[in-house]
Assembly symmetry: C2
Homo-oligomer: 250 residues x 2
């Protein structure tokens, strides 16, 4: 499984992904699920992937044209004129890759090679944009009402995102929020694991503002993980107490 | 969907369930998913159900023998000598009901009529016990290491349970914890909805200590729901701040 979150803030875009892949529970590996490209001063584009690893790696290779001889390569992500066209291109590649593998495998292949992608980025002269791309190749864009997307094992970490998110929060607070959301997920589900990848894309700064791998034993991650338990308990105890003898409703 | 939680405390057992059933998103109803029986001074038994409603209602009817004429009915739950045998009986009925319906429907029926059950109770002279019964009729019992079970839409509400649970907490704190867990789930998933049913079974008190339906506009539920947002935000802000310029790990 996987857990990735991309969020839009007034200040820009913040992305976090885990790196655990598993085939069953006894075949666990670390693979990068976050990829980014930039043309300094002109565009920055990032992808996060969830689902079948062979599918997502094939999509990334095609986007970078690593399927061609080195002399003939050119990265289509760095050439398309708008983020919408980038999303359409990624969606088309994803859909084709999923469909090709499924068709080769007949009925047995149904659903097994599926994947989804979060796409984030900004091209000069346009707004920062965030998309969620489905295995069918179609996609939706984040909006004021739905300012973040999750893929993979999304449920454990969702309540805190719903309650903690603020469009005008600082990048530092957004990283803190994502760290809590990931920690809640890691505590509940073995298929999501450290290290985590973090990427912060500031509006109109066409290169990553901050980029980091959060490893095992990362002091900040450990501080959040342990103080969140305490903070949650204090929060819990600050709530009004239940009593068995309540005034009847209505 | 559904959300039900049963937990074992030193003091006894606490159960909470929602009441929303849905067939698609446009056919939503309220059905009780929590059932309890007691023989004062001798035993108290409660069930919570998740899954196919026709299956779970059939199981409950068979347990109460509502399938027989009124004169011939006797409730098997009130006659079996141990909670283990009660769990086995409920499991057998559940497995048979699921299997019968699936067989009648052939390949199309696979999985669609499935259900699972949380069983809680105490019989005089024995400990309070909590079981999770699978559609296959087998079951597991809660233990010191795994002192609560969830069925249905379990993920959203799990992180707070993991962090908030304490074996020696008061019944009032347990209800508060469950209320927060349900509120997190309701906020994230339309298929879980108010009203909620609450049941508190005190150790060696062979009748319900507290039993209540938490309706729409319940003042306690509303107080928890709104103050939890604030408490969570304060907890969040009490955490150490992230900074882009951290000392390197190792």
């Amino acid at each position: 499984m996987t857990y990735c979150v991309g969020m839009v803030l007034d200040r820009g875009l913040v992305l976090m992904s885990d790196t655990r892949t598993n085939s069953g529970v006894d075949n666990i590996s670390v693979f990068r699920k976050m990829f980014r490209w930039h043309n300094p001063g002109e565009r920055v584009i990032a992808l996060m992937t969830a689902g079948n690893l062979a599918t997502t790696q094939a999509v990334i290779s095609h986007l970078e044209e690593r399927t061609k001889a080195p002399d003939n390569r050119h990265n289509s992500l760095l050439e398309l004129p708008t983020m919408f066209q980038v999303a359409a291109e990624v969606g088309k590649l994803l859909q084709q890759t999923v469909q090709d593998t499924q068709e080769r495998n007949g009925a047995k292949g149904s659903g097994r090679f599926s994947a989804s992608i979060i796409l984030a980025g900004q091209i000069k002269g346009m707004e920062p944009r965030l998309f969620l791309i489905y295995p069918e190749g179609n996609f939706i864009e984040a909006s004021f009402d739905t300012p973040f997307f999750q893929i993979g094992e999304t449920k454990y970490g969702r309540p805190i995102l719903i309650r903690g998110y603020d469009r005008d929060m600082s990048f530092e607070d957004a990283v803190k929020l994502l760290t809590v959301s990931f920690d809640s997920t890691l505590k509940a589900n073995l298929s999501v694991g450290l290290p985590l990848d973090l990427l912060v894309l500031e509006r109109d700064n066409f290169q990553p503002l901050h980029e980091r791998r959060i490893e095992q034993n990362d002091p900040y991650y450990e501080a959040i993980s342990s103080s969140w338990s305490d903070a949650l308990r204090s929060a819990f105890h600050s709530l009004p107490d239940y009593t068995f003898y309540q005034p009847k409703v209505k």
